[in-house]
């Protein structure tokens, strides 16, 4: 059996791949056709195939493990045409997760996870060891779950076992067909997050099919939007799909709220932060007052001795003399982490009824402030990362955000 450490991630290449069905077959509900699909999935990335039903996304997926054979064109894995491979051996090297999970009801969870190692003829002890390792990896205590049967698990637990099973032989490529489609939204969200965390460690190449554009945007490093008839409409990173849809179909498919969707793709760290006038507790009030009056933004941000924000003092409330006391400050703005998404940041600001969020680092020290203006600038249709940065700087400086203290 192959050395596990040697197996990284695979590169998958579709070269002018088409699949057509005879009219009679299509009328009986054949899977979607695919029309001249060419795309390359780089190693270690999640590529999401998304589109309405009948767009050929599942067909495209199943052609990679040859459950469906293309009518024309080639599919290469790491440069080698899969048509030349024994289909069964090929499949044992590709992880496969389907929506209904398809756990074998007559086998224990441990045996289910070890299906592919068993097919590959691993020794029994190693199969067991691997199953336990994977159950732990997907967050199921092996001691509790190994000897249970699928009927004894919840939908979310079964889905996790499905992912563990697909990972069993450490495949460099995984195919996931609506893997989180059969569970309720809350469980789905959790499974998605867990999977992204797992993928950050494993860095497999993953082809992921969904009809849900939100899931595609969340999960994909690259998103392939497909149209009924099997046409690839756009293949790009999610931010680009949202910012610059290639066609009317893509724009419609991502929805009228695509601007808002982009908010969840961008994190606070990606925006230029607005500087702000600050002073520490105990600093002389006079100098701080002068600096605040000179700044277009009429508030002073008071920090503690370790540069952690305490709250705002409006310029009119800064004493003319003496030292600044913590009691003068009003803590109104939400504290944001650099990892916070713009969507969450905006939501927190709206909840607090303020226009400014304070961005702090891991130790709670001030990094800068984020304004609603800056978020709005990031949303502008033409915005690319550089534009976002400069627009933020300009917008932030010219505006006078209503922040906290006297609200």
């Amino acid at each position: 059996m192959p050395d596990q450490a040697a197996r990284g991630a695979a590169i998958v290449e579709y070269q002018h791949v088409s699949k057509s069905y005879a009219t009679a077959r299509a009328a009986r509900g054949a899977p979607g056709a695919v029309n001249d699909l060419s795309l390359t999935v780089p190693a270690g990335k999640i590529c999401v195939l998304v589109g309405p039903s009948g767009c050929g996304k599942t067909t495209s997926l199943k052609m990679v493990n040859r459950l469906i054979e293309p009518t024309s064109g080639r599919i290469l894995i790491d440069g080698a045409d899969i048509a030349g491979r024994d289909a069964t051996e090929l499949r044992r090297e590709i992880g496969y997760v389907i929506q209904q999970v398809g756990l074998f009801p007559h086998q224990t969870i441990g045996a289910n996870v070890a299906v592919v190692p068993r097919l590959l003829g691993w020794p029994a002890a190693r199969q067991r060891e691997r199953a336990e390792e994977l159950l732990a990896l997907v967050g199921l205590d092996p001691a509790l779950y190994r000897d249970r049967y699928p009927a004894q698990l919840s939908g979310g637990e079964r889905q996790r076992v499905g992912v563990a099973r697909a990972l069993a032989a450490d495949p460099p490529l995984m195919l996931m067909d609506e893997p989180f489609g059969a569970v309720d939204p809350i469980v789905r969200e959790r499974l998605q997050n867990e999977f992204l965390r797992l993928q950050a460690e494993l860095a497999k190449t993953i082809l992921f099919v969904t009809h849900d554009i939100d899931e595609a945007i969340k999960m994909g490093d690259l998103v392939a939007v497909m149209q009924v008839g099997g046409h690839l409409e756009q293949f790009a990173p999610p931010a680009e799909i949202l910012a610059a849809p290639a066609s009317e179909f893509v724009a419609d498919f991502v929805g009228a709220d695509r601007g808002l969707k982009r908010l969840s793709l961008t994190r606070v760290s990606e925006l230029a932060l607005h500087p702000v006038v600050t002073a520490r507790v105990g600093d002389p009030a006079e100098g701080a007052r002068a600096r605040t009056l000179a700044d277009p933004f009429p508030y002073l941000l008071l920090l503690d001795a370790s540069d952690r924000p305490i709250g705002w003092i409006s310029q009119g409330h800064i004493p003319a003399t003496g030292a600044l006391a913590a009691s003068l400050a009003t803590p109104m703005s939400p504290l944001l982490d650099r990892r916070t998404t713009l969507k969450d940041a905006l939501s927190m600001m709206l909840d607090a009824d303020v226009q400014t969020g304070i961005v702090v680092d891991r130790t709670g020290r001030l990094r800068g402030v984020l304004t609603v203006e800056a978020i709005a600038a990031a949303l502008r249709p033409s915005a690319d990362p550089e534009v976002i940065a400069s627009a933020t700087a300009a917008g932030g400086a010219s505006a006078a955000p209503q922040s906290g203290a006297d609200a």
Partner: protein
């Protein structure tokens, strides 16, 4: 003497428990002929049923064969078989073989139908998952479809076995052995005790067969398949140690 005491007297008579025409020997003959015909029927119907269920091809033909087999009266099959089997073996062809043929014909429909419907009804997602993971067709059939469909498949075997045990009785009319001899001979000799003693034995054997195959069915069924559709009351759903981001 009433029927009950007559039957009891016949069954407890030590003379019935020895010799070539004693109960043990007749029972053995009965079980033997039933087992042989069940074995032949299994050999013919089970692989065909599994193949039809797995591939989905030939289901219409199988249904036709099954219906034909079911609509033929056993007695008629035995009678029709005699001229043919006599040609095969002049001695056995007139006695045991026609009964054997009739029992096989009778046993094929339930085995065939249950095998192919059982396999065909296995959730296609399981098959798809297995194939997608690199199981060969034979591995899918033996490793997924058959174990999952086993209760249904064995259900067919059970009803075939019970019908065979009951039908083997008829063979005595045409000169084969088995427990049917007591019925045929008892009627001829106007011996009610023997007739009903034979009835009791046949019924007992049929029930024992039913229980035995049922037991086998329960032993062979995976614990994961018990109480289909129902989820056990003791359900564990501990929160995942991997918290959502």
């Amino acid at each position: 003497m009433n029927l009950v005491t007559e039957t009891a007297a016949w069954l407890t008579n030590p003379a019935q428990w020895a010799g070539q025409s004693g109960i043990p020997n007749r029972l053995l003959e009965h079980v033997l002929i039933a087992s042989i015909s069940l074995g032949i029927a299994l050999l013919l119907a089970l692989p065909a049923g599994l193949a039809i269920g797995h591939t989905g091809r030939g289901a219409a033909v199988a249904a036709g064969v099954a219906n034909l087999g079911r609509s033929l009266p056993s007695l008629a099959v035995i009678a029709i078989a005699i001229p043919v089997t006599v040609l095969v073996d002049p001695v056995l062809g007139g006695t045991v073989l026609p009964t054997l043929v009739a029992m096989v014909v009778l046993a094929i429909p339930p085995i065939l139908v249950n095998a192919y419907t059982g396999i065909a009804e296995v959730d296609r997602d399981l098959v798809e998952a297995g194939r997608g993971m690199g199981m060969r067709e034979r591995e899918i059939l033996a490793g997924i479809e058959l174990p999952v469909a086993l209760p249904v498949v064995l259900g067919g075997v059970r009803s075939a076995a019970v019908q065979i045990v009951a039908t083997a009785t008829l063979g005595a009319i045409f000169g084969s052995g088995g427990l049917g001899r007591f019925l045929v001979d008892g009627i001829a000799q106007n011996d009610d005790g023997q007739v009903f003693g034979g009835v009791v034995l046949v019924a007992g054997l049929a029930i024992a067969t039913e229980v035995a195959v049922g037991l086998l069915e329960r032993l062979a069924r995976s614990p994961g398949l018990r109480a289909p559709g129902a989820r056990p009351a003791t359900e564990l759903a501990p929160p995942s140690p991997l918290r959502g981001a």
